[in-house]
């Protein structure tokens, strides 16, 4: 047992770091709120990585994966977090991609995987429905077979960044008489430009637009867009959720966040001294670092398990819970650090005439409140933290 990197791994880190320094788009800088980003901003790094062949590291090599070991992938995410990079969105790379190469047919692979790799095609996820929430299986959207097509009707919600999406993957009920709610669900790919697809942004409490309501009204989808078998969609959905959770700990990004927090607290003053020298505040930062160290080793142990052949199991629920708790506490501490300047509403300040003669607080305070508000979502999405505890209780503790 050791935590050292081999010389090969060290060399890999150098290579990766050099590549990022050379190629990461300078204008993206150290982004605060994602909602400031345009579609092009979101895709910029993805496209560069696509050309380099590094956009889908975790995929099997035959589909364009890099064949990196989990340790290399860990190094990769650390190095990207160093510059707070805008990474390829998960909807194609970590969600529908693995479903397509695992359960899709050759035609689907050929048609869809290249666009995901290159970053040319933007995917969105049509899982949740109003009134369903964490109880995903109770979904009501139907897909009715009509000749060579499915006709889809229903409403999805929380479709993240669907306003930019080219394609979406949707869970639809294809058998309304199934014995259990989990049965009779199919996994269908939908061209978001199809007639009858309507996307309406939802304003969030931080003032931004990140998710949408999506209506499907008599949307005709060719049957070849069904992935895997009809009525077996739940299996693919669960497969996908486990994949979704495994990256959710966000250790590398939180480490970068703690560094930033230290910078802020070094700038802020309390009783004439830097806030970071205040024992109360410093103690909270140390506690966060300790919990983050614990999470990091726990994730590495899980990765080692994967390396030893075990797939992402219910252990990933622990990573989701602890990872999101830490992300939320990080934003809480940042909010505390900026003091009174938590109050200005970023959208109100930012939409000013651009003159900066009379600034509203230091730059780092601009997003503090909005980020805190925004991050409340993390304990809700991807299966709420209560659901994750139910999963651990059942799958690991056998209760």
């Amino acid at each position: 047992m050791n935590l050292d990197f081999t010389p090969e791994e060290q060399a890999f880190r150098e290579e990766v770091r050099a590549f990022i320094e050379e190629n990461y788009p300078k204008h993206l800088g150290d982004v605060g709120l994602r909602e400031d980003l345009s579609r092009e901003d979101f895709l910029a790094w993805h496209k560069i990585l696509g050309e380099k062949g590094w956009s889908v590291p975790a995929w099997p090599e035959q589909y364009g994966g890099t064949g990196w070991t989990p340790t290399q992938r860990y190094i990769w995410s650390e190095e990207n977090a160093r510059v707070n990079a805008v990474m390829p969105l998960p909807f194609g790379v970590s969600m529908v991609g693995p479903v397509i190469y695992t359960f899709g047919n050759e035609e689907q692979k050929a048609r869809h995987l290249p666009g995901i790799r290159s970053g040319e095609v933007w995917w969105c996820q049509g899982y949740s429905e109003p009134g369903a929430g964490s109880d995903l299986a109770s979904l009501k959207t139907t897909a009715v077979r009509d000749g060579d097509h499915y006709v889809i009707n229903g409403q999805k919600t929380w479709t993240t960044l669907a306003q930019y999406a080219d394609w979406g993957f949707f869970l639809c009920r294809t058998d309304t008489d199934a014995a259990k709610p989990q049965e009779g669900i199919s996994f269908i790919l939908v061209d978001m430009k199809s007639p009858g697809v309507e996307v309406k942004p939802i304003k969030l409490l931080d003032g931004g637009y990140e998710v949408n309501e999506t209506w499907l009204t008599d949307v005709r989808v060719p049957v070849e867009n069904l992935v895997g078998e009809e009525n077996k969609g739940w299996t693919y959905a669960k497969f996908l959720l486990a994949h979704e959770r495994s990256g959710i700990a966000g250790v590398a990004r939180s480490k970068r966040g703690v560094e930033k927090l230290r910078e802020i607290a070094a700038n802020e003053t309390l009783d004439g001294a830097p806030l970071i020298e205040d024992m109360d505040f410093a103690r909270k930062v140390s506690q966060l670092e300790i919990d983050l160290a614990a999470l990091e080793i726990t994730e590495l142990r899980t990765l080692a398990g994967e390396q030893a052949g075990k797939g992402p199991g219910p252990e990933s629920s622990i990573l989701k819970i602890k990872g999101t708790e830490i992300q939320q506490r990080l934003t809480e501490l940042t909010l505390e650090a900026v003091g009174s300047y938590a109050a200005p509403y970023y959208h109100s300040v930012a939409n000013d005439d651009g003159s900066n003669e009379y600034p509203v607080g230091p730059d780092y305070s601009a997003h503090a409140a909005e980020t805190y508000f925004n991050m409340r979502k993390t304990s809700i999405y991807g299966g709420s933290n209560e659901i994750q505890r139910n999963i651990i209780s059942k799958m690991i503790l056998g209760l």
């Binding site: 964490s134 802020e268 509403y345 109100s348 000013d352 009379y358 409140a369 809700i380």
Partner: protein, 376 residues
């Protein structure tokens, strides 16, 4: 010992409760805070008419002789409706300074205008580097022949865009952070040399950065004794703390009730989510957090007129305990609302945001826990 309210107090509560219900419904409020002005002067006029703006002042100056308990009742109702109008800056802060330390002439000039609603105040005390220390001032007031000249930058002055006048803290002597040398002034916001940058706040109010660039004010702008204002500021801000705690209690009460209601309606896995024991116990803990917050708010309110140390301890206790309850209830209310909790459309997120900013006002939990330690 007595925990009952008088009949008059019950009447005030009922009246305000009706006002909030009838004139402050959610859609109307939303339109108002998104409007150019961001508030409703007509609500202010209503409050004046109902005597709410004059409540804490003596009958001699046209007020109604109310006390701390009355203010608590008002603020609790305001909290329930997330009322944005600047009662605390105008009535509690400016009114408090005038009541405690204003000269006859100053009271004459300002109090009746506060009571009839014609003059609105903001309290400019915070500074970019001062955090929660009222004596950590870089703003200066230099004496000259005609009065004082103010220079400095006041941060996040709540309600300033709506105000005709400002109460400003400034250093007239001593070094930054000295307890001595702090003074308080009342300044007409239209005075030459005042530059404001106005903006919205995340909890639906308006605020300004206020820059003083050689602003001349007359000698009688000074409230109380020159250089000796810190104890006065501490008294007034403890009163503001008690008022905001009461507001937070009102907001928490509604947030808890909304969450309870939501949990009874919202179904998951075929049953209302309020049937899940984990959520039940969490809502119990929210309820307990609310009740303890109310108790500490009572304590802070009742002790406002006690000895200095007792008053400060009670105010800090409340700011700590109510602040902790506010964070817990706000976060959990959003969590139990699930995805809907993080939308702009659902009211719960707005209660959460107000409670978040409340935590910061006049010192956060860490600050007041330390202050409590120093008063042991």
């Amino acid at each position: 010992m007595d925990f009952n309210f008088t009949e008059e107090q019950d009447m005030v509560r009922d009246g305000l409760s009706r006002l909030v219900r009838e004139l402050y419904d959610w859609e109307t409020r939303r339109k108002a805070i998104e409007s150019e002005a961001g508030w409703r002067p007509e609500i202010w006029a209503q409050l004046a008419e109902l005597g709410i703006l004059g409540m804490p002042f003596s009958e001699e100056v046209g007020g109604f002789g109310g006390g701390a308990i009355d203010r608590m009742i008002v603020m609790e109702e305001f909290g329930k409706g997330l009322v944005v109008e600047p009662f605390v800056p105008t009535v509690v802060c400016a009114g408090g300074f005038l009541k405690h330390a204003g000269s006859e002439a100053q009271r004459e000039e300002h109090l009746s205008a506060i009571i009839d609603g014609s003059r609105v105040f903001a309290f400019a005390y915070a500074e970019p580097r001062g955090r929660y220390d009222y004596a950590d001032l870089e703003t200066t007031a230099k004496k000259d022949s005609d009065g004082y000249v103010l220079n400095g930058h006041k941060a996040v002055v709540i309600g300033a865009p709506w105000a005709s006048h400002l109460v400003v803290t400034a250093r007239t002597g001593g070094d930054r952070r000295d307890r001595e040398g702090v003074s308080v002034f009342i300044v007409d916001k239209s005075a030459d040399g005042i530059v404001t940058r106005d903006y919205e706040t995340v909890d639906g109010r308006r605020a300004s950065e206020v820059y003083f660039e050689n602003v001349s004010v007359p000698a009688d702008a000074l409230i109380g004794e020159e250089g000796a204002a810190l104890p006065l500021i501490e008294q007034v801000t403890d009163e503001a703390i008690a008022a905001h705690c009461a507001e937070a209690c009102g907001a928490m009460k509604v947030a808890h009730a909304m969450t309870l209601e939501y949990s009874k309606q919202r179904k998951q896995f075929g049953v209302p989510i309020g049937k899940f024991q984990v959520l039940q116990h969490r809502m119990v803990d929210m309820y307990t957090a609310y009740e303890t917050a109310v108790s500490l708010t009572y304590l802070a309110t009742i002790k406002l007129d006690a000895g200095e140390k007792e008053r400060k301890r009670a105010a800090s206790s409340a700011k700590v305990g109510v602040g902790q309850s506010a964070r817990f209830i706000g976060q959990e209310a959003v969590q139990i609302h699930g995805g809907n909790g993080v939308t702009d459309e659902y009211a719960i997120g707005h209660y959460f945001k107000r409670l978040t900013i409340f935590e910061n006002e006049f010192g956060n939990v860490d600050h007041h826990l330390k202050r409590h330690v120093s008063l042991a």
